[in-house]
């Protein structure tokens, strides 16, 4: 069985690649047991499956496995843990910025990517950066507050 080696959360991982067109999301969830990234649409329209590839937020549901070889993939599991959350995750926890939480992975990854580019984003910049992330519960305002909180925390 052919395999493709990808770099996920700092480790080289070999994944079964019987179909090199398989989206990265399925390798992460089904093969590597990394289930933070969620299946939301399979169309790149909602953001629930977002991971960082070379620090940029990417929809893993439409990114073919063959195009990931040699690139750095980071999932929410790679950012932090319940005991030691990443500063952005910590800000989401303080703001209680999740209801059902199904979209939250994408919100966190999008926020991390934004703050990497723009350390002190305005509310409007955060709104634009997350424009491709859908939330049905209506936790948007808390997500924006969490982004602000994370930005404030990184300044001190």
């Amino acid at each position: 069985m052919p395999t493709i080696t990808i770099n996920v959360n700092g480790s080289a991982r070999a994944v079964d690649a019987w179909d090199p067109e398989m989206p990265l999301l399925y390798a992460l969830r089904s093969q590597l047991g990394l289930r933070a990234a969620k299946f939301g649409c399979g169309l790149g329209q909602c953001g629930a499956c977002t991971v960082l590839v070379d620090d940029a937020p990417v929809r893993s549901c439409t990114l073919a496995l063959k195009d990931v070889a040699g690139r750095r993939v980071v999932t929410a599991e790679g950012l932090g843990t319940i005991e030691r959350p990443h500063p952005v995750q910590a800000a989401f926890i303080v703001e209680q910025a999740a209801q059902c939480g199904y979209c939250t992975n994408g919100m966190v990854m999008g926020a991390v990517a934004l703050l990497g580019r723009v350390p002190r984003p305005t509310r409007e910049q955060a709104q634009q950066a997350l424009a491709g992330n859908l939330c049905r519960c209506g936790s948007h305002d808390r997500v924006l507050r969490a982004v602000q909180r994370a930005a404030d925390a990184s300044r001190t």
Binding site: C41, Q45, P85, Q96, A98, N105
Partner: protein, 744 residues
């Protein structure tokens, strides 16, 4: 950071109540790590009767003094997990980090009814609270015997009973092998609100840290050893039949098996991507079917029927005034409508089923696991006692989305292949096939008195009728497989709040009850009330405009309810309401600014909400930008104010989305709005500033917060657009094209 209260859900399904109880000795601190040895499913987990009149059905106290709460109602992202702990912990004087919560598991929790209608706290929580209060009574009685002191000299605190003489006994030491073994006492005294230490505090929700770090186990993430991945092929047209299947079309894919039961067609594979591709590539020839009416014909259908009943819902005051309305030349008349909408869950529905010859388990995000136990038992022709339905979180559903259908899919596939099967719906499956929020049509007419008060008011509504005593909503898989399903539909309590909450000399509300809705309906958040309040509170605004009165003053003038008046005054304060009639006299250039408000006393008996907003309308394009939304909310005693606030925020933003953008479109064959481009949701750039005032009433019963604030959103928005432009939007969605045409 909050302690992680939730034991990983992956472990829960294999635990018995006995194992849970004995787990206490193994649990150190509050990790609830999965240290409990998992037992194989089957006989050991045989569901037992958990009567609602026994305290032990709801609560167990372990030897170490930790408490296990068995909740039939579930957390749908709503804060139930912390609120239930607060309510129980308060009565038992046990901290929330000493309470474990088991939810929606038919083997472990009593049947408290579905988690619906904003009933989680106000019914489910109140029931648990009474169980805890009864347990408190029983513990004090047991301690009185043990310590040989009268109950009056005893206090319960920090997990122990203390006597006036200084002696103490831990609650874990008071409970024996048989539990508390006491009947629920509906009169067991509750702790007075003045002594609350947990209830009313904005304690953090225990599930958030795991959700934010990607560790929370949703049903989508649940894995059973040997599990296969399943997909179901829904027909290209509603009602189409299978004519032929070419299995060779997927023969090249690894490990794929095709399952067909009549017109139910599924695929399973060990590899998930193989299952996805098989579902896409399997060649099935379907018959043509054009049984639908198309979304453009929905309003005509509502008007013409067929009808199954006529009902007068409200008849108050002078009937002759109502009779005179039809011919009154000075009457104001308006027609409002609400489209069919999807629940729009971000995660398409998913479920896992493991059906064996001797029993089975279904993991589902259902709002009604106990109800669907009977459904699945019928599907596999097994006694209910052999089956177990276990709740795991799904993507927020806000009513019955596709989760129960996905569970039925998994049950049929698992039974067919004899292995556990996980079924994951696609985006197209979810938007195309989830049961839909039903359409509503309302006609209102009213006359005013000489001094601008409501004289006569009549609401007529055309709305699908819920089938009485429907066992469950008929599910797609068994229908396609030719298995018996109940006949009928469920829509929720859609006829409430059709009357104005303000006094009038005569009020009549009547319903023309329709038969089967154009697409399979189910309850959707604040069923019926969103559209009814849209019509009623928009029409009140029309009356205020006709009377040339300020819309706030028009409402407040004669509103009898003090709590209602207070939320209206508070919201006016928040937004800085300027008293004047609508529409505004001025508008600047192409951008017209306006403000509007709306009010509801939810179901005429529950939560009070007033909502006001500021909008800008681009007269050129018809685009509406909502700038600010203010809300005053009174749901009685608040168990957890931050969880209430989150619900209010969510109600506002979700209903803005439903009002501005959402309509399920369909042609004669099938739903055509099946992705996020054709079924549009609110996105971040359109999110307004939110200002929310929560009014706490510790002396009042707790009421629901999950739905009420959704209801006044559409009317407040329509009233703001009218204030800005003088144009009245009476049908949803408020698309730019629609408003542009009205402005032309």
């Amino acid at each position: 950071m909050a302690a992680q209260l939730d034991r990983p859900a992956r472990v829960a399904p294999t635990l018995t109540r006995r194992a849970l109880l004995e787990a206490g000795a193994l649990v150190v601190g509050f990790g609830f790590a999965p240290v409990v040895s998992a037992q194989p499913q089957g006989a050991a987990d045989t569901p037992r009767h958990l009567p609602l009149d026994r305290v032990d059905s709801f609560l167990a106290i372990r030897g170490d003094g930790t408490v296990v709460v068995h909740s039939g109602k579930v957390d749908l992202g709503t804060g139930h997990r912390i609120a239930m702990r607060q309510m129980v912990g308060e009565e038992l004087a046990v901290g929330v980090d000493r309470i474990e919560l088991i939810e929606g598991d038919t083997a472990l929790t009593p049947n408290q009814g579905p988690t619906a209608g904003s009933s989680g706290v106000m019914r489910g929580g109140v029931e648990l609270r009474q169980a805890a209060a009864t347990a408190r009574e029983a513990l004090l009685t047991l301690a009185a015997e043990r310590l040989q002191r009268p109950v009056a000299e005893l206090t319960l605190a920090d997990g122990e009973v203390r006597a006036a003489d200084g002696r103490r006994v831990a609650i874990g030491a008071l409970v024996g092998e048989r539990g508390l073994d006491v009947a629920m006492n509906p009169k067991a005294p509750l702790k007075p609100p003045s002594q609350y230490v947990l209830v009313g505090k904005p304690l953090p929700r225990p599930d958030v840290p795991a959700k934010v770090t990607g560790r929370h186990v949703y049903v989508h993430d649940h894995v059973v050893p040997g599990m296969l991945h399943g997909r179901v092929l829904r027909p290209p047209a509603v009602g189409a039949k299978v004519e032929a299947i070419d299995e060779s079309s997927v023969a090249a894919l690894p490990g794929v098996r095709v399952v067909r039961i009549a017109d139910f067609v599924g695929v399973v594979a060990g590899d998930e991507w193989a299952a996805v591709r098989a579902a896409r590539e399997l060649k099935v020839r379907w018959s043509t079917s054009t049984t639908l009416i198309g979304h453009d014909a929905v309003i005509d259908w509502a008007r013409t029927g067929p009808f199954v009943a006529e009902e007068v819902i409200v008849a108050k005051g002078d009937g002759q005034r109502i009779a005179a309305l039809a011919s009154a030349t000075d009457a104001i008349r308006a027609t409002y409508s609400w489209p069919i909408q999807s629940h729009g869950s971000i995660g398409p529905s998913c479920a896992v089923a493991d059906v064996r010859a001797d029993g089975g388990t279904v993991w589902t995000a259902s709002q009604a696991s106990h109800r669907f136990l009977a459904t699945f038992a019928a599907l596999v022709d097994m006694p209910r006692a052999r089956l177990r339905v276990v709740y795991l979180d799904g993507a927020g559903c806000y009513g019955m989305n596709g989760h129960d259908d996905a569970a039925a899919d998994a049950v049929l596939l698992s039974k067919a292949v004899g292995k556990p099967v996980r079924v994951q719906w696609s985006r197209e499956d979810e938007l195309g096939w989830d049961p839909k929020g039903p359409p509503q049509l309302l006609e209102l007419q009213a006359t005013l008195t000489g001094d601008g008060r409501i004289d006569a008011w009549a609401t007529e509504m055309w709305v699908p009728r819920a089938t009485a005593n429907l066992e469950w909503v008929p599910l797609l898989a068994p229908l396609a497989a030719g298995m018996r399903q109940p006949v009928g539909q469920s829509v929720g309590l859609v006829s409430q709040n059709g009357d104005p909450p303000y006094p009038a000399n005569a009020i009549k509300v009547s319903a023309h009850w329709l038969g089967p809705a154009p697409l399979r309906p189910s309850n959707i958040r604040a069923p019926g009330k969103v559209a009814n309040c849209f019509a009623v509170e928009s029409f009140v605004d029309e009356l205020a405009a006709k009377a040339k009165l300020d819309p706030l003053a028009f409402r407040l003038r004669d509103l009898a309810s003090p709590r209602g008046a207070e939320v209206l005054r508070r919201v006016a304060q928040l937004i800085g309401w300027q008293a004047r009639p609508s529409p505004a006299a001025t508008s600047r250039g192409n951008l017209a600014a306006g403000r509007g408000l709306a009010y509801i006393h939810y179901k005429n008996s529950e939560t009070y909400v007033a909502l006001a907003m500021e909008v800008e309308v681009d007269r050129g394009s018809g685009e509406i930008a909502v700038r600010r939304v203010c809300c005053a909310h009174d749901c009685g005693l608040m168990i957890n104010p931050d969880a209430v606030r989150a619900q209010v925020e969510g109600n506002i933003l979700q209903t803005l989305s439903r009002t501005l953008y959402e309509e399920t479109t369909f042609d004669r064959a099938r739903v055509t709005s099946v992705d996020w481009a054709s079924y549009r949701l609110l996105r971040f750039p359109a999110v307004p500033r939110l200002e929310i005032a929560l009014i706490d009433r510790p002396d009042q019963p707790p009421l629901g917060a999950g739905e009420a604030a959704a209801s006044p959103v559409p009317a407040a928005l329509a009233n703001a657009v009218f204030d800005a432009t003088g144009v009245r939007l009476r049908s949803v969605p408020f698309s730019a094209a629609k408003l542009k045409a009205l402005l032309a």
